[in-house]
């Protein structure tokens, strides 16, 4: 322990309380609220699953509904052939109006056309996966759709997606 200060240099005990300036009554709760909200995930990533089906395909999409600028997230699209016969070509189409808001786009398997992936020889009951890696580039909410259909058919399974990119 450090040597105690002489009694004349010691401050007499007094009641200690907390008082705030008027603006602090407003500003401090706001300041304290941000980390609390962040702890509860308000500014964090959120995900959603959506499904649709047509006569031959069941489309299941798991996608980020909220994440932050420059973060990279993966959208997972799964397709199941629910028919009794094999499908030669299944086309998965990502809405350009949606994906153009992102950068560093990577599709697995590789796209055959811009924002379109083809899956060949899908057996009955077989499930195939398509991944799209998206880096948040433009702030705001971006909406679009993911379509899946048998090549040459107009019967489309469609899932609407909406993602908020926080600045």
């Amino acid at each position: 322990m450090s040597q105690e200060l002489p009694p004349t240099l010691q401050v007499p005990g007094q009641r200690r309380g907390l008082r705030f300036h008027r603006f602090q009554w407003v500003a401090l709760p706001l300041m304290l609220l941000i980390p609390v909200l962040a702890l509860f995930g308000v500014f964090g990533e959120t995900w959603e699953r959506a499904d649709d089906a047509n006569a031959v395909l069941r489309l299941h999409v798991e996608y980020p509904t909220r994440y932050r600028y420059k973060q990279i997230n993966t959208m997972e699209v799964s397709l199941e052939n629910v028919s009794d016969s094999p499908i030669d070509t299944v086309v998965v189409s990502f809405d350009p109006a949606y994906v153009r808001h992102f950068s560093t786009l990577t599709f697995i398997p590789s796209p055959t056309e811009p924002f379109e992936v083809e899956l060949l020889d899908v057996a009955p009951g077989e499930t195939r996966l398509v991944w799209a890696e998206l880096q948040g580039e433009r702030y705001g909410r971006h909406r679009g759709a993911i379509d899946a259909y048998q090549a040459g058919s107009l019967d489309t399974a469609r899932v609407s997606v909406s993602t908020l990119i926080l600045p």
């Binding site: 002489p6 240099l9 300041m31 941000i34 500014f43 948040g136």
Partner: protein
Amino acid sequence: METVLRVGFVYLFILVLLRIMGKRELSQLAPMELVMLILIPELVAQALVREDFSMTNAVVAVTTLTSLVFITSALAHKFKRFGEIVEGKPSLLVDQGKPVSETMDRERIPAEEIAAEMRKAGIERLEDVKWAVLETGGRISFIKREPSEDRPPPDEGQVE
């Protein structure tokens, strides 16, 4: 969000380290302390924000830090004991013109440093100092003797 926990941990970690380092390091920068202050932000920056360069993350990190500083300061004011734990207590370096070697050793303050601070305060001799106190912020304050007060023999109060 993980950033809140990371900032909270690093804040407490650095606070504890600075308390361990002692009071004097807070007010002066010797070369090794300068190295430490330059390196700490470099070392913790990546750990705090990782690859997340978003404004949202920066706002969360900064408000977490300011909130922690505010809460610590409010608790230190409200509860004296907590304040002493976080900020430390003033230490007596010179008592009635005599150096308190125990405190000087603990705080790593050589007599030359006290002499330098005395010169800055316009004090010529140690026997003119009634008390020298190392404040919690790392500064040394002096209370001079009144001209009428007794002084210790010069050899006892000599700063070498």
